[in-house]
């Protein structure tokens, strides 16, 4: 992890730093390593599979592969999206249709 230092212009905090005891420093280090057990977790946002799995490929134009690569890629993208959708569904992550 990158070393974190306090910003400039925070003289009052520097004073506090000088006064803080080792326990507090240990506490901060421990939290950085183990993570905050009290951190509020939010449920993952529902996943909405794309209606056009190959949209991104289409937007990029023909790939520098074979002349039929776009079509072949589209088939693979469909399978990949299907696999991701199945994974999301198995974990209750699929969104309902927001168009009703």
């Amino acid at each position: 992890m990158a070393k974190r230092r306090r910003g400039r212009g925070q003289g009052n905090q520097n004073a506090n730093q000088q006064g803080q005891n080792q326990g507090q420093r240990r506490q901060a280090d421990a939290l950085r390593f183990w993570g905050d057990p009290d951190a509020k977790r939010t449920d993952p946002a529902p996943i909405r599979p794309t209606p056009d799995p190959a949209a991104l490929v289409k937007s990029l134009g023909n790939p520098p592969l074979s002349p039929t690569a776009s079509h072949q890629l589209a088939v693979v993208y469909e399978e990949a999206v299907r696999a991701a959708t199945a994974l999301a569904a198995a974990n209750g992550l699929l969104a309902g249709d927001d168009l009703e």
Binding site: S59, A80, N91
Partner: protein, 1091 residues
């Protein structure tokens, strides 16, 4: 808009603020432009992170120092970013020792932790105040958290913790652990899971989302030992000692990645994630995990397809391209280094705009149409200036690198949204038609989002709105009368939910490429067939320009033809519109019980009370159609009490419930002045008029009302109430015809079964309460009949729903909110009449008892037996003459007993609701005959359970009854079936005759009212007033002993002399309800005279 700060000043102030060197005035200036401040900090943060990434990958000597400096700068900007967004500072100094101790206490349990290194998930266990787990403990934790099924390999080197301790660890490629990681993030997997493992789970969810949206691209690279993503590619391509070729592998990477999301996730990455490899910055760890998880999912998808064979070594560019397409599942293949490198480079260029850190973005916005119907699509660019700017402006002002990127993004966008190519010089906007707009709102918009563009479109709905005809009435003018006869000019339109379209608008929409309207804030596409139907409906009604108030009400409740069927929406002004709006728009508020009412009204009763008040104010009649047992009588009494000042109320009820009316009036409304007009000594016409003038309520029976119709019609009634109003279901009957002659300001009908046989029953009731308002009988039946093959009950309930709230107030026990309010049992006492045959037999038995030689008083036991035998005979006569006569009687049962008539009414009501009932009698033979009679009458087989049956037969009867569904009944001898049985399939109990001991009756009722009963149990006790039945009732009620009627409490039945017996057992003429004849014309009511 003129900006307060120019760009240069803004940059200076933002930098000063981030460094903590800003003056108060300058800070205020920044805060006044917080959005620009936030955007500027964001831009600086992006640039700093890009620099950090570049530097961290370099191998120059000063790398470490540069990384440290840039990290510090990045941290300052992160804090500035939080301030610019008004988020609180995170200050380590805020933590105190108490927090630490508390945390330590909770941290003594080892939790499963996850670290990341080169495509591999490493699991170990520990916690800040717990020693690291050994291999056995780790195994247990894996089992506890559902991770044991994954093929983990023991890790040779243990994980070293900051304390210097080491933890046993296992490892697996991310692909193997992906499902488990997603489960951690979604909470599907619980247990001692540490924040580090959950953090990896969050990235796994993100990867799932990324692939589900198709945001990934293939890349090509030499397959190094451990290819970076570590997704289990252990099988090298067929080896060759060819230095010009090497194993290569296709790897999938996330595309169009949100940099802010990376930053957010990286900022909360626990250090434990990097416990194995601490050299990689958090953001790179985050990106590496994301890419590895995306790769794993894509490979799994690609592996489902059959791959073509590839050459052993792909030597040309074309061969390599074919090998790439054949190995998208990540299987390594051998390829010549030079063409492979060239292809890898080309692939990188092809995906550059979505692969790297994105400098600019495009926002596609669809604007709702103006009057000309055209929809405007605009494209803005982000990342060029602090705010999004039109793309043509961005192209003119952006730096060279950004222009290149902008052009590339525009090309990408145009490939997915070709309509933009029509925009010509101004690439910022284009007009699209409604079809293209709909496509953008419902389909292409989502595609663009998946491809990495920001899309802002109006909310759309694919739900098809149903058309509904609407009439708008102008305020009546001229000499029109107020009320049902007033005439109003009307205009017609069609509602699609809340979109109100007249003929011109419908024609305009019909000419659109796709007819779009805004409904409840969402754009919807109208069906062309619906539009055609709407146009036809309006053409059909265009000539109807004036309607009476009554006709408007009929339209509003669906009693007039319209092409869409059902009720027509009503708007505008006038009596009918106000009426309909008050009843349906904002239904009358519930009214609590009025002052002087003893008790409280339940919620639905208060609603009914409010509805009755609405009818009263509107001068309308109506039908209070609450299910049996829901308290129609007290509700009506509350209404009468609340409006007593308006004038007298006439209540007409069957004899069986007239007594109940009087009892409930005393109980709930003791302040009401009630007069029962009944019996031989009832008042004459003149006297009745005087009584009515000084009375709040006059109660009488149907037969008496018909007989005294002249006298009743001469009185000015405020309200005329018919209880058990199905009595007038035959409009041609004498009763129905005569009662229509009695005028009142409002007429109210009370019934639990407004549709006994057909919708014609309901018409009769409603035409009585509001003469002429509901139109012709045949039309009424035709329009409210359902098209499907639903039952009569279904059709009736559908009709009641259509009329509910205006002309009808319908509530049933099956409505959950009503069931929740009901007590679990309701006891009702039903007064029944006596036929002439019953009265004659009763008197004969009594005379015989008194005239015959009673056994000597010295033999009290014989004397008592004689009297008790007579009492039994009298009770049988009250039940039915056939119950007394036994086998000697071979006449039909119908019309010979007031109790049987009442039972028939109850059976009809219960069966109408599809419910089941128990009928208890003391006389087994009578029970058998009763069961046979009811079976024939209802068409439902009804058995009799009595002691003469074998145990097996009795058990079968109980089983069949309990397992049966729908309408059903079981007659039981109270001796054989009054205890021990479980008959919870029934929720109605009829105690056809009475027994001295109330506990026996309670036990009988408890066959249904017991554990397992899900509904309110209603028990009806049938009593013939003025007979032995009533004496039993008094004894059962604990008011007295039978002998107490005439003797001191210490005496017994055997002490009674002839006169005393006559007093105790004889008929009380003033109380007896003598049913004279069978119901006329099937209207369900007997005409009775006082005995």
């Amino acid at each position: 808009m003129e900006l307060a700060l120019d760009l240069t000043t803004l940059e200076l102030l933002v930098a000063a603020e981030a460094a903590g060197e800003i003056a108060d005035d300058d800070r205020a200036a920044l805060e006044a432009e917080r959005p620009r401040w936030a955007a500027m900090v964001h831009q600086l943060l992006v640039e700093t992170e890009e620099a950090l990434e570049r530097v961290s990958q370099s191998d120059r000597e000063e790398r470490d120092q540069a990384v440290a400096d840039l990290s510090e700068e990045r941290d300052r900007l992160v804090r500035a970013w939080r301030r610019a967004h008004g988020l609180p500072e995170i200050d380590e100094d805020d933590l105190d020792v108490e927090d630490e101790e508390e945390l330590d206490e909770r941290a003594t349990v080892p939790e499963l932790q996850a670290s990341w290194t080169q495509g591999t998930v490493v699991l170990w266990a520990g916690n800040r105040a717990a020693p690291p787990a050994d291999a056995d403990q780790l195994g247990s934790l894996l089992a506890d958290t559902g991770a044991a099924a994954i093929d983990w390999a023991p890790r040779r080197r243990e994980v070293k913790l900051p304390t210097g301790e080491t933890a046993a660890a296992v490892e697996a490629p991310v692909g193997a652990a992906l499902g488990w990681l997603v489960g951690l993030a979604t909470g599907q997997i619980e247990g001692p899971i540490g924040p580090s493992a959950r953090w990896l789970g969050d990235i796994a969810v993100w990867a799932t989302e990324t692939v589900a949206q198709g945001r990934m691209v293939p890349t090509l690279a030499p397959a190094a030992n451990g290819n970076g993503n570590g997704n289990g590619r252990k099988q090298p391509a067929p080896g060759r000692n060819d230095r010009s070729s090497a194993d290569h592998v296709v790897t999938w990477a996330a595309a169009a990645v949100d940099a802010r999301r990376i930053r957010t996730l990286a900022s909360r990455m626990p250090g434990a994630v990097a416990a194995v490899d601490a050299s990689v910055p958090a953001e790179r760890v985050c990106r590496a995990v994301l890419d590895a998880a995306v790769d794993a999912i894509c490979r799994a998808g690609a592996a489902r397809l059959v791959s073509p064979a590839v050459a052993p070594v792909a030597r040309s560019y074309r061969d390599v391209a074919e090998a790439v397409m054949a190995r998208l599942d990540g299987t390594p293949f051998r390829a010549a280094k030079q063409p492979a490198a060239q292809l890898a480079h080309e692939l990188g260029l092809w995906a550059a705009e979505v692969r790297g850190r994105r400098r600019i973005g495009l926002v596609v916005e669809l604007h709702p149409p103006h009057a000309d119907g055209g929809w405007l699509v605009t494209v803005s660019a982000t990342g060029v200036e602090a705010q999004p700017v039109p793309v043509h402006q961005a192209l003119a002002t952006a730096s060279g690198k950004k222009v290149k990127s902008l052009e590339a993004e525009l090309r990408r966008l145009e490939r997915l949204l070709p309509a933009l190519r029509r925009s010509g010089e101004n690439r910022a906007q284009v007009i699209v038609d409604s079809d293209e707009a709909w496509d953008l709102m419902t389909d292409t918009g989502r595609v663009l989002v998946a491809a990495g563009f920001d899309v802002r479109v109006p909310v759309a709905s694919v739900r098809r709105p149903s058309p509904r005809l609407q009439l708008r009435a102008d305020h009546p003018t001229g000499l029109a009368r107020v009320g049902a006869h007033e005439l109003s000019r009307v205009r017609w339109s069609v509602l699609f939910d809340d979109a109100d379209l007249d003929a011109a608008e419908i024609m305009r929409l019909a000419n659109e490429a796709r007819p779009l309207v805004q409904v409840k804030g969402r754009w919807v596409a109208l069906d062309r067939a619906d539009l055609d139907a709407a146009a036809k409906a309006l053409a059909q009604h265009s000539q109807t320009r004036e309607l009476s108030g009554a006709a408007i009400v009929r339209y509003a409740v669906g009693l007039e033809d319209n092409p869409f069927g059902g009720p027509v929406a009503v708007a505008g002004q006038g009596w009918a519109v106000d009426l309909v709006n008050e009843a349906t728009g904002s239904p009358p508020a519930p009214e609590p019980a009025p002052e002087g009412f003893e008790g409280e009204l339940r919620t639905y009763q208060a609603e009914a009370h409010g509805w009755l008040g609405f009818l009263d104010r509107a001068g309308l009649g109506g039908c209070l159609a609450m299910d049996m047992g829901l308290g129609k009588t007290p509700t009506m009494l509350a209404h009468i009490l609340a409006t007593r000042e308006a004038g007298p109320t006439l209540v007409v009820a069957p004899p069986a419930v007239l007594g109940n009316w009087a009892v409930e009036a005393r109980k709930f409304t003791p302040g009401l002045r009630v007069h029962v007009h009944h019996g031989a000594d009832r008042a004459g016409a003149e006297e009745l008029a005087k009584i009515a003038a000084d009375t709040d309520v006059v109660m009488t029976t149907y037969a008496t009302a018909v007989r005294d119709v002249e006298a009743l019609a001469a009185i000015e009634w405020h309200r005329f109430v018919l209880d058990e109003a199905q009595a007038i279901k035959n409009p041609a009957s004498e009763t129905a015809q005569q009662l229509r002659r009695v005028a009142a300001r409002s007429r109210l009908a009370l019934t639990g079964t407004p549709v006994e046989n057909s919708l014609g029953d309901l018409w009769s009731i409603l035409d009585f309460t509001n003469p002429g308002l509901v139109g012709d009988r045949n039309d009424f039946i035709r329009r409210l009949s359902t098209d499907d093959d639903g039952s009569r009950r279904d059709a009736g309930e559908a009709a009641l729903r259509a009329l509910n709230g205006l002309l009808v107030f319908r509530r049933t026990k099956s409505e959950p909110e009503i069931a929740a309010e009901l007590p679990d049992k309701i006891d009702e006492l039903d007064h029944c009449g006596m036929t002439a045959e019953q009265i004659g037999l009763y008197q004969a038995i009594l005379d015989d008892l008194l005239k015959s030689q009673l056994p000597d008083a010295d033999d009290p036991s014989a004397r008592k037996g004689h009297v008790l035998a007579a009492i039994t005979a009298l009770k049988q006569v009250c039940d039915h003459p056939a119950a007394y006569l036994g086998e000697e009687d071979d006449k039909p049962l119908e019309g010979r007993s007031g109790k049987l008539s009442r039972l028939e009414e109850l059976v009809d009501g219960v069966f109408e609701n599809g419910e089941r009932m128990l009928i208890f009698t003391h006389f087994a033979k009578w029970g058998e005959r009763l069961a046979a009679y009811l079976s024939e009458r209802t068409g439902v087989h009804i058995a009799c359970y009595h002691g003469g049956l074998s145990r097996g037969v009795r058990d079968r009867l109980v089983k069949e009854f309990q397992e049966g569904t729908g309408p059903g009944a079981l007659v039981l001898s109270i001796k054989a079936g009054g205890s021990g049985l479980n008959l919870t399939a029934a929720n109605h109990v009829v105690l056809y005759d009475r027994w001295w001991n109330p506990a026996v009756e309670d036990q009988a009722r408890d066959r249904a009212w017991r554990i397992g009963q899900k509904n309110t149990v209603i028990s009806h006790r049938l009593v013939c007033p003025g007979t032995i039945d009533e004496r039993v009732e008094e004894v059962v009620a604990g008011k007295r002993r039978i002998a107490d009627l005439v003797l001191p409490a210490s005496s017994s039945l055997s002490d009674l002399g002839a006169d005393q017996l006559r007093t105790a057992l004889g008929l009380r003429p003033e109380a007896v309800l003598d049913v004279e004849e069978a119901p006329d014309g099937g209207d369900g009511d007997g005409t009775e005279r006082a005995a």
